[in-house]
């Protein structure tokens, strides 16, 4: 293979085309001054399809085969085969943004349905087509607050336990708006309400809380947080995910103005942190929403049809006054999440969410029964995951578990974190046995 396997030109066709454009060869078509011309030698060897697959499967096989009990923002639920087979249909997989809605009704409707499911789950009126992940959605939410709050504040408040990746992305996003990120104390893995009340002030434009939190704790006083934010004129942003929202309090009912989070808990397998940013908000912020929105309309025959809408918010029209710089987003992942949600239905989602509670509860109990371990450390209801206290140094315990074939988080000198879902529940007993081996 001397050229691109995906450029279909025969030599005769290339010659005819060059003739038609009046060029002797392709090089003649490039208007590149000599001093900046490159000789084409990257030193990258072309592989046959077969060799490529062998090479990369060999490379990836260097990943140790550990059973993961990992969470803290990236979760795996079993994705049914039908989601794969349908989402990989080429009409979905190899399309792009719906600039011509008349021939892209399929994806538009799927995204409209995705938005609608999030509307149901959050109780808020508006959901966009996707942000990149939970962290960037949080960043966008803080900037929304900056746009919609008349208050002159510059403080964005987040829990002290916020995952560093999220805190860092948030700090990056708000830098340009001259906001700053401050933390409020937590207790037992959730907001310390009194301390939060003290922390919120006139300068606060945005209060962020999560449920479940990064430690897997279900926040017991969301309405209280919402009231504190509201009293200060700050936007209350709640972080969650579509599985948790299937049973937890509806965000709208606790006063959330915006909901962000990781919607890739549906539709995505473990994928090294790749995500799908959930973004939903109240209708009053409609003209300030970042990202794409699909709306219903009609065609000239009066038939219902879908189209991207309110694009005047977006960068390709509004440029530096756009509500965000986002363009390429996570639409195909949103499609998969919608498929997964529809596959489960309301009953399947509720069952899955309840399993996240009971599996964590049961596994924590089993671990707590082991001498030298305590779980859960926090006095809260747990969702998917929980913190484990260890008598031994946590890193040593984790290393020993890894030798037994299990991966868990180390989050402190004597603190591990363990996450259990339907994806790894079959190995929970084995994990307990391994804990018994190594914890003593």
């Amino acid at each position: 293979m001397s050229g691109s396997p995906y450029a279909p030109h025969t030599d005769a066709e290339t010659a005819a085309m060059l003739d038609a454009v009046g060029a002797a060869d392709e090089a003649e078509l490039f208007d590149i001054p000599d001093p900046v011309a490159f000789d084409g030698e990257f030193g990258i060897e072309s592989r046959s399809e077969q060799a490529l697959r062998r090479e990369l499967s060999g490379l990836l096989a260097e990943n140790d085969d550990l059973t993961e009990f990992l969470g803290r923002g990236h979760y795996e639920h079993y994705v049914p085969s039908v989601v794969d087979s349908l989402s990989k249909r080429s009409e979905f997989l190899t399309s792009y943004t719906q600039y011509q809605p008349e021939i892209t009704q399929g994806f538009l409707q799927a995204l409209f349905e995705y938005q609608s499911m999030l509307v149901e789950l959050t109780g808020l009126e508006i959901a966009n087509c996707s942000m990149y992940d939970a962290a960037t959605a949080l960043g966008e939410a803080a900037l929304l607050a900056d746009r919609v709050r008349s208050a002159d504040g510059e403080v964005v408040l987040v829990p002290e336990t916020l995952r560093e990746g999220k805190r860092s992305v948030l700090a990056n996003y708000v830098d340009g708006a001259a906001l700053r990120v401050e933390e409020y104390p937590t207790e037992e893995g959730t907001a310390d309400i009194d301390a939060l009340d003290d922390a919120v002030g006139e300068e606060t434009v945005f209060v962020y809380a999560e449920t479940p939190t990064v430690r897997g704790c279900i926040e017991p006083n969301l309405a209280g947080i919402g009231e504190i934010a509201d009293a200060a004129g700050a936007l209350f942003c709640l972080g969650s995910d579509p599985v948790a929202l299937s049973i937890l309090e509806e965000p709208a009912s606790v006063g959330a103005d915006v909901v962000v989070g990781e919607a890739g808990v549906l539709g995505l397998p473990a994928s090294y942190g790749m995500g799908l940013g959930l973004f939903a908000c109240k209708e009053e912020f409609l003209r300030q929403v970042p990202g794409r929105l699909v709306g219903a309309s009609e065609d000239t025959e009066g038939t219902r049809a879908y189209t991207l809408t309110l694009q005047t918010r977006e960068q390709h029209i509004r440029k530096q006054r756009a509500t965000s710089n986002i363009c390429t987003n996570q639409a195909w992942v949103a499609l998969r999440a919608a498929m997964h949600a529809a596959y489960l239905g309301a009953d399947g989602l509720v069952d899955l969410a309840e399993d996240c509670v009971t599996l964590a509860q049961d596994l924590a109990q089993d671990i707590d029964d082991i001498v030298g371990l305590r779980a859960p450390v926090d006095d809260r209801h747990q969702f998917r995951e929980f913190v484990v206290g260890t008598d031994q140094p946590a890193q040593a315990v984790a290393d020993d578990l890894e030798a037994e074939g299990f991966a868990v988080h180390v989050i402190g000198q004597h603190r591990l974190q363990v996450c259990v879902t339907d994806a790894n529940a079959h190995a929970a007993d084995d994990l307990v046995a391994a804990f018994e081996e190594v914890a003593a």
Binding site: G3, S4, P5, Y6, A7, A20, V21, L29, I32, I44, S46, E49, R53, L59, L60, A61, G73, E76, L86, S90, E91, L93, T94, S95, Y96, Q98, Q100, P101, I103, Q109, F112, E125, I126, A127, T136, G165, V169, N172, D175, L245, L248, E249, P269, G273, M274, L293, A296, T309, Q315, H316, K319, S324, C327, A331, A342, D347, V350, A353, V357, H381
Partner: protein
């Protein structure tokens, strides 16, 4: 025929059970509940109502819609690729090794010294790059406030600069469609943080003065940023690093053909010169004597993604690059430029600016570009990008990419000409052979119905 909404088929309302106390739970949840066969039919029907690169030509200018080789899907579906981001690097040497390999490939392709793979899209790459510039200037004790952007640039450039807190200084294009050197010199100042440039630019022209441009910006203490949207035109022919760019992003979903169905996911890795490497976001992958590890820099900017970016996209990009290699990559560029030039010669449209490379901005002249595009739908092709860039009146920005055959380009040209040859009324009434007829955009925006809940009672 239309496909009903999922919720118009069957929905269930359920209440949470007793795993949690009532005060922590919602009252009820109502969602569609198709069983699997109906689910399969729903999405199969929807897919058949959607244009894709496997449906036919997709010459959206500036979007580089290339064939997405299924082999890259198979590679990414490897069960060993399904790992959690908090795994120790030691235990996922395959994953971090692949990332190290991709960093290396991208560095070579762009002529850049260091690369981060974290940005999950092109615009995120821009934000990363401009944040790097910001950090660099701050580290030098400078508080530069402006980013220069040619008026023909992608909207993301403007939005990114604003997101990073910069004032945008828009540069008018010269008469030849390229950067106007005089305007540039007039605009550059000690407030200039960076110039963001696309090359070839958005009408397909190579910025021949790139060396002089770089000198002007660098002399003023600014940095030169390369928007990788059009990199497909230059593979193996020129490298941003060699042209004097300090920072660039790669749109791997364009140039390296990773599928981004419906609008994403993409990935926007950022390459920088050695001088700027310390500012790339943490962590990055580095090779050590015994393998690969994740390393952090004290001077790094804050992160642009909660984890390590769009991993599955990066795997596919690596696979695509490795499949093509030097000769395949160079051929992709050569054929993309040949195809654009050939197609431009076959259509009855004026192309004001040239010589262009992988895309050309034709003008529909007296016709409304948007209507011509709608009429093209009736001839079984996807039309080009319309009414952008603004420097070309009734612009039809056309990028066929290297994957179209001569026959396919001839068919595409025939669709252009047939649409242009239609009457204004035919164009205005178009399309008529599509799933939906012309859709009312005005009403969609005036009376936003953004969920099935908003359709209640319709």
């Amino acid at each position: 025929e239309n496909e009903p909404l999922l919720t118009e088929k069957r929905s269930d309302t359920v209440e949470p059970g007793d795993a949690l106390p009532d005060d922590l739970t919602r009252d009820e949840l109502t969602l569609p509940n198709p069983e699997e066969p109906e689910l399969a039919r729903h999405y199969t029907r929807l897919s058949q109502m959607n244009w894709s690169i496997e449906s036919g030509p997709y010459p959206l200018g500036s979007c580089t819609m290339k064939y997405n080789p299924p082999v890259t899907e198979d590679v990414a579906a490897d069960p060993n690729a399904a790992v959690h981001p908090d795994r120790s690097a030691d235990s996922i040497q395959g994953t971090v090794g692949l990332l190290a390999g991709l960093q290396d490939y991208l560095g070579r392709i762009g002529g850049m010294d260091a690369v981060t793979l974290q940005p999950p899209a092109g615009a995120a790459g821009e934000f990363t790059g401009i944040a790097v510039a910001r950090a660099y200037h701050r580290a030098n004790g400078e508080d530069r406030s402006e980013v220069l952007i040619p008026s023909s640039a992608h909207g993301t450039n403007f939005a990114t600069a604003a997101l990073a807190g910069y004032d945008v200084v828009e540069l008018p294009s010269g008469e030849d469609g390229r950067v106007d050197m005089e305007a540039l010199e007039a605009a550059v100042s000690e407030d200039t943080a960076a110039l963001m440039l696309t090359n070839p630019n958005t009408v397909g022209l190579f910025e021949r003065d790139i060396e002089a441009i770089a000198d002007v910006v660098h002399d003023a203490g600014g940095l030169l940023y390369y928007d990788g949207a059009n990199l497909n035109a230059l593979l193996g022919r020129a490298r941003p690093g060699d042209m004097g760019f300090d920072i660039m992003h790669y749109n791997v979903h364009k140039t390296f053909a990773t599928p981004h169905g419906g609008g994403g996911p993409g990935a926007g890795p950022v390459g920088v010169t050695e001088e700027l490497e310390p500012y790339l976001p943490n962590p990055r992958v580095a090779e050590t004597g015994s393998g690969y590890e994740l390393v952090e820099s004290e001077d790094a900017i804050e992160r642009v993604h909660g984890f390590q970016g769009n991993w599955l996209v990066l795997v596919k990009a690596y696979a695509y690059i490795a499949r093509l290699g030097d000769s395949g990559l160079a051929d992709a560029s050569a054929k993309s430029v040949l195809n654009a030039n050939y197609l431009a010669g076959q259509v009855d449209l004026a192309v004001p600016y040239g010589p262009f490379h992988h895309e050309f901005a034709a003008t529909a002249g007296d016709a409304a570009a948007a209507d011509v595009a709608k009429r093209m739908l009736d001839f079984g092709v996807h039309p080009p990008t319309t009414n952008w860039p603004e420097m070309v009146p009734e612009a039809m920005l056309t990028e066929p990419t290297e994957i179209e055959s001569k026959q396919s380009l001839d068919d595409l040209a025939a669709a252009f000409d047939a649409a242009l040859g239609s009457t204004a009324e035919e164009r205005h009434d178009a399309p008529s052979r599509t799933t939906a007829r012309r859709i009312d955009q005005t009403n969609a925006a005036r009376d936003p119905r953004l969920s099935w809940q908003a359709l209640d009672g319709e």
